[in-house]
C-alpha cells in the first residue's frame, strides 16, 4: 500500500470511530428504557474492543499529538451533525452542554493539578465566583459575552487572594487552604443578602448580538444555542490547554510538578509558574461557571458546595491526571451516569460510586492515561503504524 493511502485509511478509521462514538453517546442520552441502555453500553464495550483490536486508540493518539487540526476536524464534524440531528431533544442538549461546561472547568483543574501539581479543592467555589459575577452583571446592561469573560476574570482575581497561602504551603497543606476557601465561599453566599442569600439569584437570559439564547433558535430547542456556546468554549479552552502543554510553558509546569528543588536549580521560577497555572486555571473555571449560570437561569449557594469541588477533582482523576482529552469522557461519565441511574432512585449514588471504584480499580491511571511527552514526530513511521 502506498504511504498516502495508508494515511487516508487511518483518517477514515478515526472518522468512523468518532462517528460511531457520537452515535452511541447521543443514543445513550436520548434512550430511557433500561434494557436499551444496557444494549447501548454493551455495544459501546464491544466497539471499544474491536477498535482496540485494530490499534485505533494508538492511531488516534498519534494524530492527536501530531496533527491537531486533522484531529479536531475528525472529532468536531460528527458532533456538529449529531447536534443538528437532535436539535429538538431538549434534555439531551442540556446534558451535552452540562458535560461540555464541566469539562471546561476540569481543563482548568488539569492545568493546576495535572501539569503544575497544585491541588485545588475549591473548583466549585471558582465556578460559583464566575456564576455569581454573571448573575450580578447580566442584570446591568453589559454585553453578555463580555460578562462571561468578566466572570472568568473575577474568578482569577479572587483566586489571587489564595496565591500567597498556596505558595507558602505544599501538598496536603495547600489542599487544606483551598478546602477552607470552598467552605468559606458557601457560607459567605448564604449569609449575604445582596447576593440573594440561600435562595440564590435569578439570571436574565443570555443575549448575543440581539439573539436571545432562551428563545428557540431556528425553531429548535431552547438549549441549542447553549450547547453551541458551551462546545465552542470547551474547544477554545481545550486548544489553549493543549498548546500550553506542548510548548515550553508546559515543559516548565511539568518540571515544577515533578521536582521543585531540581526545577529551581535549573533556574525555573517556581512561584511565577505556580501563579500562572493557578490563575489561568481559575480563569477557565470561572468562564465555565459563567456559562453554566446563564444556562441554568438560577443559581444558589448549594450548587457550589465542597462536594461539587470533589466532583470536579474526581473527573480529573477519572479522566487520567494531566490528560486534557481524558477529561471529556470522564465528565460525561460523572455527569450523565447518575442521571441515567435515576430509575433506581435513592440507591443510584451507591451504584454510581461502585462503578467509579471499578473504573479506578481496572484503570488506576484513569480512562486515558497521559502519554509521555514526545519531542519528535513519529507520524508515518512504519513501526508505529503497524502496531
Amino acid at each position: 500500500m502506498k504511504k498516502q493511502d495508508k494515511y487516508l485509511v487511518t483518517y477514515c478509521e478515526i472518522l468512523l470511530t468518532s462517528t460511531i462514538t457520537t452515535i452511541l453517546v447521543v443514543a445513550f442520552l436520548i434512550v430511557e428504557k433500561e434494557m436499551l441502555l444496557g444494549a447501548i453500553i454493551g455495544l459501546g464495550i464491544l466497539g471499544f474492543f474491536i477498535a482496540k483490536g485494530r490499534g485505533i486508540p494508538h492511531k488516534i493518539d498519534q494524530v492527536y499529538r501530531e496533527h491537531p487540526c486533522v484531529f479536531y476536524l475528525t472529532i468536531v464534524s460528527p458532533v456538529i451533525i449529531a447536534i443538528v440531528f437532535c436539535r429538538h431533544e431538549h434534555f439531551a442538549l442540556f446534558m451535552i452542554a452540562s458535560v461540555a461546561i464541566y469539562a471546561t472547568a476540569c481543563l482548568g483543574l488539569t492545568l493546576q493539578l495535572g501539569y503544575t501539581g497544585l491541588t485545588n479543592f475549591a473548583g466549585a467555589a471558582f465556578l460559583g465566583v464566575g456564576g455569581y459575577t454573571v448573575a450580578v452583571l447580566t442584570n446591568q446592561s453589559i454585553p453578555n459575552v463580555l460578562v462571561i469573560l468578566l466572570g472568568g476574570l473575577m474568578a482569577a482575581i479572587i483566586g489571587s487572594l489564595l496565591i500567597l497561602p498556596v505558595l507558602r504551603t505544599r501538598g496536603h497543606y495547600a489542599a487544606l487552604v483551598t478546602i477552607a476557601f470552598a467552605l468559606l465561599f458557601k457560607t459567605f453566599l448564604e449569609i449575604n443578602d445582596t447576593l440573594g442569600g440561600p435562595q440564590g439569584l435569578k439570571i436574565a437570559s443570555f443575549k448575543f448580538f440581539g439573539l436571545d439564547f432562551n428563545e428557540p433558535l431556528l425553531g429548535s430547542s431552547f438549549y441549542l444555542s447553549y450547547v453551541i456556546a458551551a462546545l465552542l468554549l470547551m474547544l477554545v479552552v481545550f486548544i489553549i490547554t493543549r498548546l500550553i502543554e506542548k510548548s515550553w510553558l508546559g515543559l516548565h509546569l511539568d518540571a515544577v510538578r515533578l521536582d521543585e528543588t531540581v526545577a529551581s536549580c535549573f533556574g525555573i521560577n517556581i512561584a511565577a509558574w505556580k501563579i500562572l497555572a493557578f490563575t489561568l486555571g481559575n480563569f477557565f473555571i470561572g468562564l465555565a461557571g459563567g456559562l453554566y449560570a446563564q444556562m441554568l437561569g438560577h443559581i444558589a449557594p448549594t450548587n457550589f458546595t465542597f462536594a461539587d469541588s470533589l466532583i470536579l477533582i474526581s473527573i480529573v482523576i477519572l479522566g487520567g491526571i494531566g490528560n486534557p482529552l481524558g477529561v471529556i469522557p470522564a465528565s460525561f461519565l460523572i455527569i450523565v451516569l447518575p442521571e441515567k441511574l435515576q430509575f433506581i432512585q435513592e440507591y443510584r449514588f451507591l451504584l454510581f460510586s461502585i462503578l467509579v471504584i471499578l473504573v479506578l480499580v481496572y484503570r488506576p491511571e484513569g480512562l486515558l492515561k497521559r502519554g509521555l511527552r514526545s519531542f519528535y514526530r513519529t507520524w508515518g513511521r512504519e513501526r508505529k503504524l503497524e502496531n
Binding site: I23, A27, V31, P198, H298, Q342
Partner: protein, 387 residues
C-alpha cells in the same frame, strides 16, 4: 477493512431495530413526574413524599373506573438547584409526562419554575414553603397544595398574641427556610402588637449556641421563636435549658417530628409548633391515606409532607381523567380547582396557583407526643404553658 465495515453496519442496524422497537404503542399510558430529594440530608422527607405519590398512582391504577393507566416517573433533585433544573428539564422534555408533583426544597423550586413554564408542564408543589414560588411569578403552570410560611406565621403570631405573649427572641438558621420564617413571623408579630427583642442567624450545622443564648438570656424574652429544622432545634432547646432560660420554646413546621421529642426528652413538654394542613388523622380521607399507606408496607413513613404529595398526585390524576392528557388543558383545569376535597382538607387555587385554604394546625408537645392544640390539656386549662 471490509470486515470492520460489515461489523459496524451490523451494530448500527441492530441499534436501529432497538430504537424502532422501543417506540411502543401504549396510547392510554399517562406519565406523572415526581421530583424530590431522594438522596442527601433531607432524603427522609423526599422518600416519604415519593411513597405517597406512588400510593396515589397505585390506587388510581387499581381503580377500574379510571380511563387511563398511570406511571410515576421518579426523579431525584438532591435538594440542589442545578440538579433540580436538570431533572425538571428531563421531565418537561418528555412528551408523555403530563404533570409534575415537585419539590420539597424551596431553593430548588424557585429555580425550576421557569423550566416548567417554558415547557408548559403543569406542576404542583408538594413541600416547598417559600412564598415566591407561587407569588414571585404569574406562570399559570405553577400550583401549590401546601401553605406558604406567610400563612403559617400569621396563624402562629395571632395565636401567641391571644395567649398573652408580647416579647420574642428569634433564632433562625440561615437557609431560605429559616430566614423566611424569621421575616414573616416578625412581620406578623409586629402587625399584632408584639415585639422582637433580638434575632440571631445561625448556620444549619452549628453545634454550639451558647453565645446567642447568653445574649438572649439578657434580653429576657417571654418566648424563644425558633425557625429551622429538627437537628438544630434539639440543640437549641437543650442548651437553652443548660443556661436556665425560662422562655417558652416555639418552633415551626420544621421541628414537628418524633426525632425532636426523642432528642430533647422531658424538655420537649410544652413546645409549640405550627404546620400547614389539617392533621391527617382528623380527616376521613386522611385516615384512608394512612391505612392504605400502611397496607403498602413502604419501608419508611410518609413524613409530614407525604399527604401533600398524595393530594397533589391525585389532583393531577383527576385533571387527566377530566380533560385528557393535554398539558394546556390540565393547566387550565387545575387553575379552576375550587373546594376540591382531599386528604389535606379542601383545596382551592387562587390566581397564582396557591392553595387558598391554608388550614394551619397548632401542635403542642404533651407527654412525649405532638398533640393538636385543641385536643390538649393546655387548651382545656389542665396544664399551663411556661411564662
Amino acid at each position: 477493512m471490509g470486515a470492520l465495515m460489515n461489523r459496524i453496519l451490523l451494530i448500527m442496524l441492530s441499534l436501529g431495530v432497538f430504537l424502532f422497537g422501543c417506540s411502543s404503542n401504549e396510547t392510554d399510558l399517562v406519565k406523572i413526574a415526581f421530583i424530590g430529594p431522594l438522596t442527601g440530608g433531607v432524603s427522609a422527607n423526599g422518600i416519604g413524599g415519593r411513597n405517597s405519590a406512588d400510593l396515589a398512582i397505585k390506587l388510581a391504577n387499581a381503580d377500574t373506573s379510571k380511563k387511563y393507566q398511570y406511571e410515576l416517573v421518579v426523579l431525584d433533585d438532591e435538594c440542589k438547584p442545578n440538579i433540580g433544573i436538570q431533572v425538571a428539564t428531563k421531565a418537561a422534555a418528555d412528551s408523555k409526562i403530563f404533570g409534575a408533583v415537585a419539590h420539597y426544597c424551596s431553593a430548588v423550586a424557585v429555580g425550576t419554575v421557569d423550566v416548567f413554564h417554558k415547557f408548559a408542564l403543569p406542576m404542583i408543589v408538594w413541600g416547598a414553603v417559600l412564598p415566591e414560588i407561587t407569588y414571585g411569578n404569574d406562570y399559570p403552570e405553577i400550583h401549590r397544595v401546601n401553605g406558604t410560611m406567610i400563612n403559617q406565621n400569621d396563624v402562629a403570631a395571632r395565636f401567641m398574641i391571644d395567649q398573652g405573649y408580647r416579647n420574642w427572641a428569634i433564632i433562625h438558621d440561615t437557609t431560605d427556610y429559616g430566614k423566611g420564617h424569621d421575616k414573616y413571623f416578625t412581620e406578623s408579630i409586629e402587625k399584632y402588637g408584639g415585639k422582637v427583642l433580638g434575632r440571631f442567624g445561625v448556620t444549619a450545622d452549628q453545634q454550639d449556641f451558647n453565645a446567642e443564648l447568653t445574649k438572649i438570656k439578657a434580653l429576657k424574652p417571654e418566648v424563644l421563636y425558633f425557625g429551622g429544622i429538627t437537628p438544630i432545634g434539639v440543640r437549641v432547646r437543650t442548651q437553652m435549658d443548660r443556661l436556665n432560660i425560662p422562655a417558652l420554646f416555639q418552633g415551626t413546621s420544621g421541628i414537628i417530628s418524633d426525632a425532636y421529642i426523642e432528642g430533647t426528652g422531658n424538655l420537649s413538654e410544652g413546645t409549640l409548633a405550627f404546620r400547614e394542613g389539617d392533621s391527617a388523622e382528623r380527616l376521613p380521607g386522611g385516615k384512608m391515606f394512612l391505612t392504605k399507606y400502611k397496607e403498602m408496607e413502604y419501608s419508611s413513613p410518609p413524613e409530614a409532607y407525604g399527604p401533600f404529595a398524595f393530594a397533589a398526585a391525585n389532583l393531577i390524576i383527576r385533571a387527566v381523567e377530566a380533560v385528557g392528557p393535554d398539558r394546556k388543558k390540565i393547566t387550565k383545569f387545575l387553575n379552576q380547582i375550587k373546594d376540591h376535597n382531599s386528604v389535606i382538607g379542601k383545596i382551592s387555587f387562587d390566581d397564582n396557583g396557591q392553595n387558598m385554604v391554608p388550614l394551619i394546625t397548632k401542635f403542642v408537645v404533651q407527654d412525649g407526643k405532638w398533640v393538636i392544640w385543641e385536643a390538649s390539656d393546655y387548651q382545656s386549662g389542665q396544664r399551663q404553658l411556661s411564662r
